[in-house]
């Protein structure tokens, strides 16, 4: 797991145009971010392009990173969005290749792809660690179809249309699974955090 404290420091230094910090940021994060891009593009050369474009964006937009936000999450969002864009512009017949390539059991890939460990002991990290535990538990409590839709969309960057094709379901049904899945997930996490009713 990347050290969020270190990555935040490097990201803030990058915003201040510290090239050495940016170089260290690349060294520390490029492998993981390439893995994220690879999950979505499923093609090595495209993933490398996504990584390059993403770090270009990270360099240029570093000053818009919220110092209190999650640094790895911020970079991951850039990579995922870029990968999704690249897949759309390359007009890749993703569904054909995906039918063969995608995991049949997205539930299993949840534990492959994400780190749910709770080894951190620092107070702030403990908080994040508990939230991760809630998230993992709540994902497990979702209806199988909802969980499958969410994991496929997140891991592989599938659109509603892609999901509908892959799961052989009507677009409306898939959209409902996604929306209801996210809603249920949030309600569950709120419940776990003792915040039920606090959200609008």
């Amino acid at each position: 797991m990347l050290d969020e404290l270190e990555i935040r420091r490097l990201l803030l230094a990058t915003a201040a145009r510290d090239v050495d910090a940016f170089a260290r940021l690349y060294k520390r994060c490029a492998p993981l971010l390439l893995g994220v891009a690879q999950r979505i593009t499923r093609r090595r050369e495209l993933a490398e392009e996504v990584l390059h474009d993403s770090f270009t964006r990270i360099w240029r937009a570093a000053d818009s990173f919220d110092p209190f936000g999650a640094p790895v999450g911020w970079m991951t969002t850039i990579v995922r969005n870029r990968a999704i864009d690249v897949m759309e512009t390359h007009d890749i017949s993703r569904v054909d290749s995906y039918h063969a390539a995608l995991d049949d059991k997205p539930e299993a890939s949840l534990d492959q792809m994400f780190d749910w460990s709770q080894a951190d002991t620092a107070e702030e990290a403990l908080d994040a660690s508990r939230l991760r535990a809630f998230l993992r538990r709540c994902l497990g409590e979702l209806a199988a179809a909802e969980r499958q839709a969410l994991v496929l969309a997140y891991e592989h960057g599938l659109s509603h249309g892609d999901l509908a094709s892959h799961l052989s379901k009507p677009l409306g049904t898939v959209k409902t699974w996604v929306r209801r899945g996210m809603g249920n997930l949030r309600a569950c996490i709120d419940r776990c955090s003792g915040n039920e009713g606090a959200t609008r």
Binding site: G35, T56, A70, W116, A153, S159, M182, S193
Partner: protein
């Protein structure tokens, strides 16, 4: 319409985080993120609760040269500190400058010491010609230095011999030389003779010096000690 007041704001944020918010909808959302602090704040809250940590198991090694390409295309070198402002350079420069300063202070002092301890005592010349060799003596009288205006080197079968001729006395041999340049150690027994009124003379002798202990060859240079 402000997105912050959107009834389905959380759902939109959820789709954005999931990646299913696409095209114009995503661009609209991203614009709202920049323009509406409430939207950005809500995203941050939900990201805090939802964002799972990717496992390093999915990490892959990027192609070699990826960083160099970024460096080139973003022209990162222009943001690097110029060579003269880098800490390592400054540190080196400071050390060097300090060393140079110390040497600058001590070297002239050393030179002055050497120079003051060697005092010119005689100008040696051919009779009637300008002096060609200067003799200088150390303060303690142990070292005599000959400084020639131009190199004077003895031939292969010759040596030069340096004599001190005390007032009213016989020549005493100070040294047998191959060339008339350089410092020589004055024999202890003769040190008292190098004083005002005595004469320094150089004769040409057979290789290895006078066979008799007294000058045998012609005097080429001489000068009184002043």
């Amino acid at each position: 319409m402000k997105l912050a007041r959107h009834r389905q704001l959380d759902a939109l944020i959820g789709e954005y985080m999931l990646g299913t918010l696409r095209g114009a909808a995503r661009r609209r959302f991203e614009r709202a993120l920049r323009e509406e602090p409430t939207v950005a704040l809500r995203l941050r809250t939900l990201q805090h609760e939802f964002a799972p940590y990717y496992s390093e198991r999915i990490a892959e090694t990027p192609a070699a040269g990826g960083w160099q390409r970024l460096e080139r295309e973003l022209n990162l070198s222009q943001h690097r500190a110029p060579w003269y402002s880098r800490v390592s350079f400054l540190r080196g420069w400071a050390l060097g400058a300090t060393a140079a300063f110390v040497l600058g202070l001590t070297l002239p002092a050393l030179r002055t010491t050497t120079e003051t301890t060697l005092t010119p005592i005689a100008q040696l010349a051919l009779k009637g010609a300008p002096p060609s060799v200067t003799a200088a003596l150390s303060r303690d009288g142990s070292t005599l230095e000959l400084r020639a205006a131009r190199p004077i080197v003895a031939g292969p079968l010759q040596s030069y011999e340096l004599w001190v001729i005390p007032q009213g006395g016989a020549p005493l041999s100070l040294a047998v030389l191959g060339q008339l340049d350089g410092a020589l150690r004055v024999p202890e027994g003769h040190r008292g003779q190098l004083r005002k009124g005595a004469v320094l003379a150089i004769t040409v002798e057979p290789a290895g010096g006078s066979p008799t202990g007294g000058p045998t060859g012609p005097v080429i240079l001489s000068g009184a000690i002043s």
